[in-house]
Assembly symmetry: C2
């Protein structure tokens, strides 16, 4: 069972911002469905669209020269992704769970931003938020395995809106690649947090946060 992935209702803020973005400008977007692990766009492909998650979960990642994969971000319903300046994509995007994705032509969005100040302002705000998220993610990568996993769980709880039980749509490999760890270390750390009674492993992909202050105490 990996239900719940499509049921994630979005976090409100993101959806509202994006709605204002696309809605106000009356931008025609194409909505497409993607199967689990399907590629939405690939590295070095033409950068012609901006994307919004309607439902499901998306990861953006890059393959390192040694074959390892680094996941830069998970994108939840309402989130925009593919926000880049270059003519070609710098990273790739795949569906973690079955997704519905809204695609808007970059040129159309640009025109909309030129004619509607609110669209431009929204787009800038969304980009700045993404910048801050990226910087926060960078901070994570220099911390201990326990701190990374704890922060990840709290982030997922915050993003899915759940206070207690979180359903993780992504595999341990995805988590490891997001946190810059190996799957073994992620697994071991989850075991440790369980033994420390900070969390409870209901199922492999369903985790209950038992001691949120303890988890938060591991953070900066």
């Amino acid at each position: 069972m990996q239900s719940g992935t499509q049921a994630i209702p979005g976090t409100g803020g993101g959806v509202a911002a994006a709605d204002a973005l696309f809605g106000t400008a009356a931008l025609a977007g194409v909505e497409l469905g993607f199967a689990r692990n399907a590629e939405i766009f690939g590295e070095d492909e033409d950068n012609d669209f901006v994307y919004q998650v309607v439902s499901g979960l998306v990861r953006t990642s890059k393959i390192l020269c040694d074959g390892r994969r680094q996941i830069g971000a998970f994108h939840f319903p309402g989130d925009l992704f593919g926000l880049e300046t270059g003519a070609r994509h710098w990273c790739s995007a795949e569906a973690v769970s079955p997704c519905r994705i809204l695609m808007v032509r970059r040129s159309a969005l640009q025109r909309a931003a030129e004619s509607d100040t609110r669209v431009a302002a929204r787009l800038l705000a969304v980009t700045m938020n993404e910048l801050q998220r990226s910087q926060a993610h960078g901070l994570l990568l220099v911390r201990s395995a326990q701190e990374r996993v704890a922060a990840f769980l709290l982030e997922m709880a915050a993003r899915t809106g759940r206070r207690q039980a979180i359903d993780l749509p992504m595999s341990r490999q995805d988590i490891a690649d997001y946190l810059g760890l190996t799957i073994e270390t992620v697994s071991r750390t989850i075991t440790q947090l369980t033994e420390a009674a900070a969390i409870e492993l209901v199922a492999t992909r369903r985790i209950v946060l038992r001691d949120v202050p303890a988890l938060a105490g591991l953070n900066a």
Copy 2:
């Protein structure tokens, strides 16, 4: 001698973009000088300005709960910084070398962006570039010490425009905090790269890149 810090001419692209940003809109900015290690803004302070480096080098950083410091970015002449959405600053900014900084009121910039589409577009482009830089930095943090230091040296060479000799305006501690390493590891790695004839340590803060392909070969 830590000369060269004020002589860095900017990288062209950054300066041009920023000039268009501030110039076109006829934005009145205040230019201020900051001594070495002076704080330009602090974490949690009011986020009322956007800043541009005129000369010198700026670092933006955050202090972790365990006392360690993580540097998110170095900002060179022409670069904008302080691009955040929140009402308060999320990180702090300090002068690595003596700096001249142009400060523009966020509200004024926002008004300029509303009246001039080109300003809005420039601001968005600059923010997206910063996002990509931040993501690239995140990638660095999951690599080996050698790869991080090599990438750092190449980045500095690219930013300062020098092909061969780089003058590093920042201390080993700054480098370590930027790369998520300790000063000892940075020092040892520089020694290793010297022994491998990839670089040459002319002075502690002056490094000549002897084998750029070898250094680049360590990257993704």
